[in-house]
Symmetry: C2
């Protein structure tokens, strides 16, 4: 039994090593790679994906799991080894459904398709991207078929990001949110304050401020990097090596929120118990849980009045011509302003959910075959107008804006909104545990909040299912009400003022 555990951990460790090597290749691809490096990189990632898939689906892993079941059953449900056997069994059975060739083909096509998307987005040319997207959709549907029978093809894909969650649960949460969000946008969307956040902000100063903020949150530069990319993301190379990426736009301050967002992802990964390193239990448990942390730091903390009470003087010092005579409350109102806008990642908190709901609806249509790729831009533009009241006239501002579908990440989008919803539930629990948390934030002190999240959320890694994890932390399922109340409170505060 001891020998079986050692062998299982050795095999899982090698799989983790190879997956993380793949992470390094993806990071370099998006941060540094010269233009002609694409084809070789796609082939390398495909080979790694093939090897990881072969190793992760080996018969031997099933034998070892069989041997270890009695041991695992003898342990408490939350013992690391019990979780390891449980989670490995689940992932092994799932991965074995997908032929290695298909897994490698998906990876290679995703890398190629991403390159095509980059060019098509720059050119605003959906037709240039269409064949790649059709190919990704076709491969994705082949993957879905590996899990037949299923209630809904979308369930199969959602499971990759939010294990155990069903599409109808998402629908239920979104159905509660959509009319409320629409009503909030209708009531509060305003252009007032927009000018306040536009100006000329040299990128070196934005970079220095970004680093100052996320270092205060808990980012340790001995274990983190922050680099530039087109589409910001976080990726983990190991317990002491977390890579954040961001982008700077000289004309606004959105980079500060991007840095806080990616730092939230990074702090989650950084806080996972070291004992889980090089196992499937390492890393954040699901996309929604991950997003709950990025949005907690970006929005619940990073757009709060206590946060800006601390940091606004630094911003005023840095850009005195712009902010010296602007009161804190005007600035705070501006960073929380509800607005109608085209780009999801630039959206305010209130309208953000509508951007996500649009994508969720369209993904479901594509996957069910009710919507053809060629009709996607029209469908996007029509529904976008219904949800957000704006006409899309340029696909760069519409269907081409996100990289996700180029990489075959269908089923990912809803987790953004689920995470936002959950971030408020988590914050409420943290605030119960730390009664003076707002006063701490006003002083730029984040250590106690970080420690609470680390101990109660991050350290768990992927030991439990997403639903179990949520239950452990907030005492119930993902629920939209606290999130809606939080948005209303913010918007009403200024509407009343």
């Amino acid at each position: 039994m001891e020998a079986a555990l050692v062998e299982l951990k050795r095999r899982l460790g090698e799989i983790a090593d190879l997956s993380r090597a793949g992470n390094v290749l993806v990071w370099d691809l998006e941060v540094w790679m010269p233009p002609r490096g694409g084809p070789a990189r796609a082939t390398q990632l495909s080979t790694i994906q093939r090897l990881v898939h072969e190793m992760a689906t080996a018969d031997r892993i099933g034998e070892l799991l069989d041997e270890l079941e009695p041991y695992a059953a003898s342990l408490p449900h939350d013992a690391d080894d019990a979780c390891l056997v449980r989670v490995t069994r689940r992932q092994w059975e799932k991965a074995r459904r997908i032929p290695t060739d298909l897994a490698a083909e998906l990876m290679k096509a995703a890398v190629e398709s991403y390159q095509v998307w980059v060019g098509a987005r720059e050119a605003g040319d959906f037709q240039a991207f269409r064949p790649s997207l059709e190919r990704m959709l076709e491969l994705t549907l082949r993957k879905v078929e590996c899990f037949a029978p299923y209630d809904d093809p979308y369930d199969v894909l959602l499971d990759d990001y939010e294990h155990g969650m069903k599409t109808e649960q998402v629908e239920e949460v979104f159905a509660a949110l959509q009319p409320e969000l629409t009503a909030l946008v209708d009531e509060h969307a305003t252009d007032e304050g927009a000018e306040l956040l536009r100006g000329t902000f040299p990128t070196d100063k934005q970079d220095a401020l970004s680093r100052e903020i996320i270092q205060a949150f808990g980012v340790d530069w001995d274990a983190f990097r922050l680099d530039l990319t087109v589409h910001p993301f976080e990726v983990t190379f190991g317990v002491g090596d977390i890579r954040l990426t961001t982008r700077y736009d000289e004309s606004d301050l959105s980079s500060l929120f991007t840095a806080m967002h990616e730092a939230g992802h990074g702090l989650y990964e950084y806080g996972v118990s070291d004992a889980l390193d090089r196992t499937p239990l390492f890393g954040g448990v699901s996309s929604a849980l991950h997003e709950s942390q990025s949005r907690l730091w970006e929005n619940v903390v990073g757009r709060s009045l206590p946060f800006w009470t601390w940091f606004y003087p630094r911003l005023q010092e840095t850009f005195p011509a712009k902010f010296a005579s602007v009161p804190l409350h005007d600035f705070h109102r501006a960073v929380n302003r509800a607005k109608r806008s085209y780009i999801r990642v630039d959206a305010d908190e209130t309208s953000y959910g509508l951007h996500v709901i649009l994508r969720f609806e369209l993904e479901r249509e594509l996957l069910s075959g009710r919507l053809a790729v060629t009709d996607l831009p029209d469908a996007w533009n029509t529904r976008f107008h219904e949800l957000l009241g704006l006409e899309v006239t340029d696909d760069r501002m519409g269907v081409l804006q996100d990289s996700h579908w180029s990489g075959g990440s269908f089923g990912y989008f809803p987790t953004y909104l689920l995470g936002s919803v959950l971030s408020v539930q988590m914050w409420e629990k943290a605030a119960e545990a730390i009664p003076d948390v707002e006063e701490q934030l006003e002083r730029g002190e984040f250590a106690e909040l970080h420690a609470w999240l680390r101990d109660n959320v991050y350290a768990l890694g992927s030991k439990f299912t997403p639903a179990e994890t949520v239950e452990r932390v907030v005492g119930g399922p993902i629920a939209p009400e606290p999130y809606l109340a939080y948005l209303r409170d913010k918007l009403d505060a200024y509407a009343a003022a």
Copy 2:
């Protein structure tokens, strides 16, 4: 037979992909990795090394080679497939001598030891590095034993860098060089001109000049990057993805030569026939051949009067306070000045060989067991004084200066000098073929030289042995006389002036 060839190429392609993934990890390690990333990276590289070794030594490769031998025998000696079978056979047989565990252990120990060396070098603390070096030596000797019986343990290691070459051939070349180099240093070493190359040269300007020069040489920024590191190197990720690294010292212009040197390595790799991609035939054939190209571009071209006739006006424009009133010939003399110095990579061309010979001698002593690691600094300092007439009082300026031994690269050093020797033989052949090459260089035109080298050297990749390759290009073996004549000509020209 056709099926065997397809399968062999598929397997070799996957091995190449995984090796190149390892290259990306090593590059990131040396260029970007945060300090605490080391342990995870070492484990990842060890896992990749283990997998590469397993894949490269699989029984199945031997079976495929057996099946393909008649086909290969039916082809001309220089047919790609004939070379592929021949080279794969040789590498497969060699790799199978080394147990996978030992290969993985060597890789992991090398990464760890490199980290220790970085710290020890910074601190000038050889004792901190000693245990790591002892471990690398012990593992290296275990590797050597896999090739028993051998004439000389050093032959085994040299073969990794210069396949087929024997230690006694190196000794013979070095024996012809050492007294001549010593005599040249004795006669020509001077401090005159040293001040000319010292000053304050902002690194952004050095960077711009470096890029301008190597772009003129043939570096295509769609396929190359140039980044910063402690110990400059070149590494290839794919046919369209070549990474050069360099470093800048504000107080001198050495970075220009570093960039030319690494660009030489990069152009070699970049010029390999695309048809050889993802096979063992891709890439430069040996370390000496590689070094012949880096030193050809750095020294034979980059320290020549024709080159500086072209580029010196640009340097004068960039740093007018320093160079506006300095004649070209004074500058050219200064960049070719013979001197006695501590650091190999800063050495002039004439004394450079003595730095290499020192390391070659000490490596042989260490490997034979005649010299203990603990006595290495004393041995270094004693022999350094004999060869270069300087007292080493700080190990940072002595035994700790190079990373090679930390990575277990015993047997590598002699190839630096062999490459220098060969660079002059290659240049003479190129100059025969391009009678006006010097006039072209004076005009900043490098395309014809680059094309000659690509067609005659680079394109061959690793199709032939190093000795065969040298024979094909220069019509004979590596021979010291042209190199010595080249050095004498340069030094005498100014001595006479």
